[in-house]
């Protein structure tokens, strides 16, 4: 498979933007962690009324297929409430899984052949757009072609394997792929959904949708988008599923976290979904009177130390393993996230969202300076008079690259620097912008170690993207792929290929865990923590409130309402 084909938008988005994008699931009020399977709040509501929610980021545009729609907040505020998708992400036991949405009559039929695979979608006969026109197979064909053949498309993963979308009848769409695609449930789901052909065909899609659009195939419709100020949603009267309780939901943009917290305290906004920065966590720990909170560690966000396996000194497996033994990840996580009761470091390169596929292979690494020293000495290193490891006249010095302006990450870097120093590594820190880091430094391999976050929001494994050798960006392939660490392990690639094409879930879990173990054994990079998600809301808000790590905090906004007094 080609790199581009395998690139999941969510992973790509996170890698490129390096943003801590949120999405998760459940806990308790007051900041304590609880089982995320159950809703945190289920308060009886009355019909009518309005809720104002603070939004940390404003999307740049609402043409969801385009590169300008990179902000996850755009998904949460506008796309998800208005664009129908084929699969919803729901909790099943301890795992998050994709289940057919009410756009379909049930699970699509999947037929696998030597030439590829065929997916047959049966569309719900009741499914209609907000103008009353039925949602049809033509809409599937239009959407697929726009993505597959379009310019300025954010990510064509999976869609570029589509050879044809047949429309035998208006309510049946048959999608032909030219190869097996294990992540086929992501098609017409994940971040794209299905667009209305009867309204967009023959028009400039970007111009029509960029500043918000008037159609909907979901429970809400966009009433207005005032740039820089707010997005307002009102119920879609033609929605065929459960109708919203509220008359209106307004998302008001508050980019400053401190101001957002004050706005919640003063009642100017009724709910927040803040980035877990230190000040946010300390305020939750201190208690917010009259405010309910849910802190959920089961997110799709995985913060990790990404190692360039081609760069000195990490071109040696022994050094990579020694570095991994040199850091106390437990202490690091406790100091950074202890305020919100997140204590355990990540033991896999799969985020908590895809924990069903994850091994705990990295639990072999705990702080062990003796083991680190032993590995270094076996590899020919010795400590100099300044306590830094040396070999062939070169010191074990390296730079950790990261993004500027994130206080939580700054603190993490300082702690790491100290821990590495104690183990005999000379570490300096260099921070830059996302554009610089993810379009220049990382793709070119101009780094030794980096700290950034990958984000999943579809429950399928994606180890191939950061660790498959086919995904190493090079000049030859136009710097495509996000295997920035130049990881190339002979026994790993076949396992990753199998993961990408194996349709049997049990076998995919088995091979993914095996791949995870190979990555851990070679210390190709170091996972740190699944970053928790936080949802805050005041007592005015009722209904079923809980975070969904894949679909965000407003996944069931139609179930929200004003609490009955």
């Amino acid at each position: 498979m080609s790199t581009t084909r395998n690139t999941n938008r969510s992973r790509l988005l996170a890698a490129v933007l390096g943003l801590v994008l949120l999405g998760t699931l459940g806990c308790t009020g007051g900041g304590s962690t609880a089982n995320s399977q159950d809703p945190v709040a289920d308060v009886p509501v009355r019909d009518g009324g309005e809720v104002v929610i603070g939004a940390e980021q404003e999307p740049a545009c609402a043409d969801w297929l385009s590169t300008c729609a990179g902000s996850i907040w755009g998904d949460w505020l506008m796309r998800r409430p208005t664009i129908p998708v084929t699969f919803d992400i729901r909790k099943d036991g301890d795992d998050w899984v994709a289940v057919p949405s009410d756009l379909l009559t049930g699970e699509p039929e999947v037929e696998s052949t030597d030439k590829g695979m065929t997916i047959t979608y049966s569309i719900n006969p009741d499914a209609v757009w907000s103008d009353g026109e039925p949602i049809t197979s033509t809409d599937f064909a239009y959407t697929a072609e726009q993505i597959r053949d379009g310019d300025n498309i954010f990510d064509k993963s999976g869609y570029d394997t589509i050879t044809e979308v047949a429309t035998p009848d208006p309510k049946t769409a048959v999608v032909h792929l030219d190869q097996q695609y294990a992540n086929w449930r992501m098609l017409f789901s994940n971040t794209y959904g299905v667009l209305p052909a009867h309204l967009l065909e023959g028009k400039d899609r970007t111009a029509t949708m960029r500043d918000g659009y008037s159609f909907s195939g979901g429970p809400w419709i966009i009433e207005s988008w005032k740039r820089g100020t707010s997005v307002t949603l009102v119920p879609n009267e033609n929605y065929w599923g459960d109708k919203p309780h509220l008359d209106k939901v307004t998302f008001t943009f508050i980019p400053d976290t401190a101001a957002a917290f004050q706005a919640l305290k003063s009642g100017q906004v009724d709910a927040l979904y803040p980035t877990p920065q230190l000040n946010a966590m300390s305020q939750i720990e201190a208690g917010l009177p009259g405010i309910n909170s849910q802190v959920d560690p089961q997110s799709g966000n995985l913060e990790a130390l990404w190692i360039n396996n081609d760069a000195f000194p990490f071109d040696s497996e022994a050094v990579r393993r020694a570095a991994t033994y040199s850091i106390d990840r437990d202490a690091l996580v406790d100091r950074i996230y202890g305020a919100v009761d997140v204590e355990d470091p990540a033991q896999s390169f799969l985020s908590p969202l895809v924990s069903a596929y994850a091994s705990d292979s990295f639990d072999q690494y705990e702080l062990d300076l003796d083991e680190a020293a032993s590995l270094m000495e076996e590899d020919g290193w010795s400590k100099g008079s300044d306590g830094i490891w040396e070999k062939d006249g070169r010191q074990a010095s390296f730079v950790i690259h990261s993004l500027a302006g994130n206080k939580r990450r700054d603190l993490m870097l300082q702690i790491l620097q100290q821990q590495f120093a104690d183990a005999g590594f000379d570490v300096s820190i260099e921070t830059t912008t996302p554009a610089d880091l993810f379009t220049k430094v990382a793709p070119a391999g101009d780094f030794q170690m980096g700290l950034w976050t990958l984000v999943d929001y579809f429950p399928e494994p994606t180890l191939d993207q950061p660790f498959g050798s086919a995904n190493i960006p090079t000049k030859t392939n136009g710097y495509s792929g996000i295997n920035f660490g130049r990881v190339s392990i002979d026994e790993l690639d076949p396992l990753l290929d199998e993961t990408e094409t194996e349709l049997d879930v049990d076998k995919r879990i088995e091979t993914t865990k095996a791949a995870d173990k190979v990555i851990a054994d070679s210390a190709a990079s170091i996972p740190i923590v699944g970053i928790p998600n936080i949802l805050l809301w005041n007592e005015k808000v009722g209904g079923t409130v809980s975070i969904n790590p894949a679909e965000g905090p407003f996944w069931n906004l139609e179930a929200w309402g004003l609490a009955e007094q």
């Binding site: 790509l12 988005l13 820089g228 003063s266």
Partner: protein
């Protein structure tokens, strides 16, 4: 005077042109306009856009192309939003213009009053108090003052008064669903205008006080006193009027600097103006917004300088311009 204005306008053209080239070169050197597009991992698309936008040409040639489009009203398309830049800037200018207008009005009135009071009551406890406060005002960072104001005047009272909504708002210029000049607007305006004017009032009041003291110690004031002119008339009609020239000059020169303060203030109070637009565009490396944004500031600085010179000539009859 008209000739002077025309000459200054003509002289301003090369200044603005040089500034525009320096800005263009600096922004292009610092940012990659296609950074976002590169996320698509489609080298062909990036290549096509590079050629379409002329990014493969030398910077002077790029500048010439950009300038030609800019003066004809085509300010390009934002790489962040895919929308036209000109309406984006026009939309952002309106809230900013409101903030600047209110800040200037309030700043001049408050600083002017303090200046007159301090000069007339020189070395009184009131003068010392206002002097001390002005030093605090100059030293206090706008973002910190804004957050303190929010806590003290909006959030704090909520904890003691049994009410569902704060008396003063601090998110945007209107509540959702509201518009126009009304009580809601005023309740939104108080805190950002206070934040924006605190440092200006502090510094302007010091300039005003010095100018007023100069004026009060002038011979013509002594003459007026000797002639028995009433104190109030001496202060307001003679001294304050003559102190106005240097005061207004400082105000005009500082007005352009308000853009800098707006970046912080608009961020804290979530106001979708030029400051927010600048920050958002800077973070996204959106050169097609950053360059015209800076051009507008450059033009504003030149215009404010011109206004300062003109106001001096208008207010002080001893000054002649040629």
């Amino acid at each position: 005077m008209i000739g002077y204005v025309l000459r200054r306008l003509v002289y301003s053209v090369p200044v603005v042109l040089v500034a525009s080239f320096v800005l263009f070169w600096a922004v292009r050197a610092a940012f990659d306009p296609l950074a976002k597009l590169r996320q698509s991992r489609d080298p062909g698309l990036v290549q096509r856009e590079t050629e379409r936008l002329g990014l493969d040409k030398p910077v002077p040639e790029q500048y010439a192309l950009w300038l030609k489009e800019f003066v004809t009203g085509n300010w390009g398309v934002s790489t962040r939003t895919s929308g036209d830049v000109r309406p984006m800037i026009a939309d952002a200018l309106w809230p900013t213009t409101q903030l600047i207008a209110w800040a200037l009005l309030c700043g001049v009135l408050v600083a002017g009053s303090i200046a007159v009071f301090s000069a007339v009551h020189r070395y009184s406890w009131g003068d010392h108090l206002l002097t001390g406060l002005s030093y605090i005002g100059v030293a206090m960072p706008a973002f910190w003052f804004g957050l303190i104001l929010i806590q003290l005047l909006a959030v704090g009272p909520m904890q003691y008064v049994d009410t569902d909504e704060p008396f003063l708002y601090f998110i945007g210029l209107h509540s959702p669903g509201e518009s126009g000049f009304n009580l809601d607007y005023v309740r939104h305006l108080v805190l950002p205008v206070l934040t924006l004017t605190i440092a200006l009032v502090a510094s302007w009041s010091r300039y005003g006080r010095a100018a007023m003291l100069d004026s009060l110690s002038s011979d013509y004031i002594r003459t007026a006193r000797a002639k028995g002119v009433r104190r109030r008339r001496i202060i307001w009609n003679h001294a304050a009027r003559n102190a106005l020239a240097p005061f207004v000059t400082v105000v005009a020169l500082d007005a352009a600097l308000l853009f800098g303060g707006l970046v912080v203030t608009e961020q804290i109070f979530s106001i979708p103006g030029m400051g927010r637009l600048f920050l958002d565009s800077l973070q996204a490396g959106d050169v097609y917004v950053l360059i015209p944004w800076m051009m507008i500031v450059a033009v504003a600085v030149v215009a404010c300088n011109l206004i300062a010179d003109l106001s001096y000539a208008v207010l002080d009859p001893r000054v002649r311009l040629r």
